[in-house]
């Protein structure tokens, strides 16, 4: 086992899912100017949905692992989108661009959804079979094949989003709204519609991250909480609302976790993350890739 390579491989495999999750959070912030504390609940919802749907499809359709996963992935993300629509309609819609109001609403949803998950799924961990078995060896570092695959899929989705934002009409509207909502509305962009799309894309990204984590981790009703806190750190470091910032931030945090856990210990690495945020904000309040906001 080559240590440095192993630590880099660890960074990449953790980072890929962090990036996906944080992208959603940063996108929602950019478009709606809200800090969504309920983002982790969408992640959890997708993982829980996978834990139900994967065994069901495997049994009912008798397909092999890959198509079952592909199908389940789609279903889980759809479930999350439906949930996102409900949360938007019964909550955030009235608190667009209201940092404090939306914050409280999102807390309400965290409590409600967490309680409901526990009620429905119970406290015991759930597990789904691996997507593909086996361990790959890259330059002396070990990584499971399914991690590798999921890493690539996550990166593919990241590039897809990048393309969507950079090249499509919707992407242009999203960027315009994030930049200056009033000017965008003057240009004839329907803000509410764009905000809804932005929110749903963000939820979908959280859902995709959750569905990817499902075969990798023990699925519990509270697994989103850890990701949420990490994602906050990531988007602060990368710059609130910045998509390249979230990508860069995701890998930076993964690197600190990976190298810090090795050279110190995991608990110290966690503190280091928070200290880094504070120091980083002082040096460059707008984050690495963020624009200075007046």
């Amino acid at each position: 086992m080559d240590l440095t390579v192993q630590l880099i491989v660890n960074t990449l495999q953790i980072g890929a899912v962090y990036v996906l999750f944080s992208l959603g959070l940063t996108l929602i912030f950019g478009v709606m100017k809200i800090v969504n504390f309920a983002h982790g609940e969408f992640f959890t919802a997708a993982a829980l949905a996978m834990s139900v749907v994967v065994p069901w499809f495997a049994k009912a359709l008798g397909l092999s692992a890959i198509p079952v996963f592909a199908l389940s992935f789609c279903v889980s993300v759809l479930v999350v989108l439906a949930l996102g629509l409900v949360v938007y309609k019964f909550g955030f819609e009235r608190y667009l661009r209201d940092l404090i109001g939306s914050f409280i609403v999102s807390i309400g949803f965290v409590l409600l959804l967490e309680g409901l998950y526990l009620e429905i799924f119970g406290g015991a961990p759930r597990i789904i079979p691996p997507l593909i078995p086996g361990v790959a060896n890259i330059l002396g570092a070990a990584i499971t094949w399914q991690r590798l695959l999921i890493c690539f899929l996550a990166l593919a989705i990241t590039f897809g989003l990048y393309f969507l934002v950079a090249r499509t009409k919707l992407g242009l509207a999203l960027r315009a709204v994030a930049e200056d909502q009033e000017a965008a509305m003057l240009q004839g962009i329907k803000y509410r519609r764009v905000a809804l799309y932005g929110f749903l894309i963000g939820c979908g990204l959280a859902g995709a991250a959750g569905a990817f984590m499902a075969p990798l981790a023990a699925i519990t009703t509270f697994m989103g909480a850890d990701f949420l806190i990490k994602a906050f750190i990531i988007i602060i470091i990368g710059g609130l609302g910045s998509i390249p910032g979230a990508i860069l931030g995701g890998f930076i945090i993964a690197a600190i976790e990976s190298f810090g856990s090795y050279y110190f210990d995991s608990s110290t690495a966690t503190i280091a993350l928070f200290v880094l945020v504070i120091v980083g904000l002082l040096v460059r309040p707008q984050g690495i890739m963020g624009h200075a906001e007046r």
């Binding site: 912030f29 100017k33 800090v35 504390f37 019964f90 909550g91 009235r94 608190y95 940092l99 404090i100 109001g101 914050f103 409280i104 609403v105 807390i107 309400g108 949803f109 965290v110 409590l111 409600l112 959804l113 967490e114 309680g115 409901l116 526990l118 009620e119 806190i229 906050f232 750190i233 602060i236 609130l240 608990s267 966690t270 503190i271 928070f274 200290v275 945020v277 504070i278 904000l281 002082l282 309040p285 707008q286 906001e293």
Partner: protein, 317 residues
């Protein structure tokens, strides 16, 4: 001004009733319930105080904890007197807030929200790694002196009541006006030659010193404190008190604190569905009364025709 005087008289009366109740009522649970509401109200008022300059201070929980731990260390490790513990708690929390504020208040909005969140988590994790203050197990045996123990709830309510009145007085003073001016447009404040940063730091220091004192009071009434008590979730709940009570007026913070504390206690008996109800209550409250309980009262007041005195509650934006 007469309206202000009326409010001061009313709150002084309320304070006397609270203190008297704490002295007369012999049922421990009822007394504790009053103390929980009082500490929640203080937390809510302090969080709202920083909202005056337009910042959401998640570190509310951190400064409350700093006060509680400072007081705990003084009374249990150094056997210091309670008064010293309370003063030191306020001073230490205020000093830490001064440094914290001076560095962090250069940013605002979501950035300040998230930096105060990170600060709160760092402080909490530091407690867990410090053996002298009990690590994760926390500190135990933080009692007020035996001689005053029977009167402690009354003392606590009296101090918290006075602090709340003090905070209100500051809010209504020229300094308070300055806070609100910064919230609506800090460029104007800057243009008349006042350092916005200094004013903001003063605001956070005042709130934090009050929180430190509150933390000291809390530590001595709870007898046990642990790092888990001062995580960012505490601030989140406190924000819910403020928001559901209505943030326009300080009374809202008190109402929200009382309402959600009582609701929490009631739901405790409901059983395993507690969180679902609590979360649902927050969402519904935010949907049906976006201006909080005070806003609702205002609307009702208008409809019933005695609008003038009630409506003026919300006059100072």
């Amino acid at each position: 001004m007469p309206r202000d005087r009326r409010i001061y008289i009313a709150s002084a009366l309320l304070l006397c009733v609270g203190v008297a109740a704490a002295l007369i009522v012999r049922d421990d649970y009822t007394v504790k319930l009053m103390l929980w509401i009082a500490t929640s109200a203080l937390l809510a008022a302090c969080l709202r105080f920083v909202l005056l300059i337009g910042e959401l201070n998640i570190a509310t929980a951190a400064f409350y904890g700093i006060g509680a731990y400072t007081a705990g260390v003084i009374t249990t490790i150094f056997n210091g007197p309670l008064v010293l513990a309370m003063l030191a708690a306020a001073v230490v929390a205020g000093l830490v807030a001064a440094v914290f504020g001076f560095i962090t208040l250069r940013v605002k909005g979501p950035y300040f929200l998230l930096i105060s969140f990170a600060f709160t988590e760092v402080v909490r994790l530091k407690y867990t790694q410090s053996n002298i203050i009990g690590g994760n197990s926390g500190m135990i045996g933080i009692f007020p002196p035996v001689a005053i123990e029977p009167y402690y709830p009354a003392i606590m309510i009296a101090i918290i009541g006075l602090v709340l009145i003090g905070l209100y007085a500051i809010e209504r003073s020229p300094l308070g006006m300055l806070f609100k001016a910064i919230k609506s447009n800090d460029q104007i404040v800057l243009s008349v030659g006042i350092s916005v940063l200094v004013v903001k730091v003063i605001c956070v220091v005042i709130a934090s010193a009050a929180l430190g004192l509150g933390g000291a009071l809390y530590a001595h009434s709870n007898n046990v404190i642990s790092p888990g008590d001062f995580g960012f979730l505490l601030s989140v709940f406190v924000l819910a008190y403020v928001k559901i009570g209505g943030e326009e007026h300080m009374v809202g913070a008190l109402l929200g604190a009382a309402f959600l504390t009582l609701l929490g206690q009631y739901l405790m008996g409901v059983g395993a569905h507690e969180r679902i109800f609590f979360g649902g209550a927050i969402i519904i409250a935010m949907l049906v009364m976006p201006q909080g309980l005070t806003g609702l009262a205002l609307q009702l007041g208008r409809r019933l025709g005695w609008a003038t005195p009630a409506a003026s509650l919300g006059q100072h934006k």
